[in-house]
Symmetry: C2
Subunit: 154 residues, 2 copies
């Protein structure tokens, strides 16, 4: 069976790029931290653990490349850094995020909840949708549970 990294390798080759050791190390870090929403700096530090000679610029260049090939999505939660998310294979659209304003946790919603909404937007605004970004800000289940337990305990 073909592994995920093999398929990414093919995608690179198809676009005339090589899967160098540095690029492979970067991709592996992304695969090993799929739901972590890592910043470039995060990725750099993690790659460095295995391949200490790598430079930050290479990580940036690799992430840019992967974004271009739509292997990852570059996202921005408004905290000043770009974060990178592996795109689900075969996913037509980008997944959604739940950002907790209490603890900062970011959860993912893989389901596409926007089918109807997109239809409306395309028809009513005559806008051909290629992708979307949907983020909810609020209180996650962990934080609202915590409050409750604490309330119950006392």
């Amino acid at each position: 069976m073909e592994s995920r990294i093999d398929r990414i390798k093919k995608q690179l080759h198809n676009a005339n790029y090589k899967l160098t050791p540095q690029r492979e190390a970067t991709v592996r870090v992304l695969l090993e931290h799929e739901e972590a929403h890592l910043s470039a700096e995060d990725v750099y530090l993690l790659v460095k653990e295995k391949a200490p000679e790598i430079g930050l610029a290479t990580v940036y260049r690799t992430l840019e490349l992967l974004t271009e090939l739509k292997v990852v999505d570059k996202i921005n939660f408004g905290d000043g850094v770009s974060r990178f998310d592996l795109r689900q294979e075969g996913a037509a659209h980008f997944h959604h995020h739940l950002v907790c304003i209490e603890c900062g946790a970011v959860d993912e919603i893989q389901e596409d909840l926007l089918g109807d909404v997109e239809q409306i937007v395309e028809d009513r605004w005559n806008f051909k949708i290629k992708d979307h970004r949907l983020t909810f800000h609020g209180i996650c289940w962990r934080c609202s549970d915590e409050g409750q337990e604490e309330a119950e305990r006392t």
Copy 2:
């Protein structure tokens, strides 16, 4: 009748801030360019036309203040700059955006299209929604009207 700027002035006073000439000039620029999604630099240049002595830092500080008071929303379309949007008065939620990947235009959708979706998210993920950000990326009506040949050539 009470003007919009009066209401903003009150909001400031309630939070123990003053509406200084510099702050007023900044707010006026925002009011005069409501759908423009101005960056801090844009605002600075526009304010400068009327009040040339103003400093960029003051504009940044004012925008930060207005964001804190929820008079404006700080948004980010992934192009490296923060943009500032006056919040509709009385709007429970933030409006949505259509970003054209051809020409870069940003249109607004004031309607709240997410009622059903939010209900699902709150129930299924046990997440208390406070706000949301929804942006569609695609081709706007202007570009699909005029740029058809170019799109087909590639």
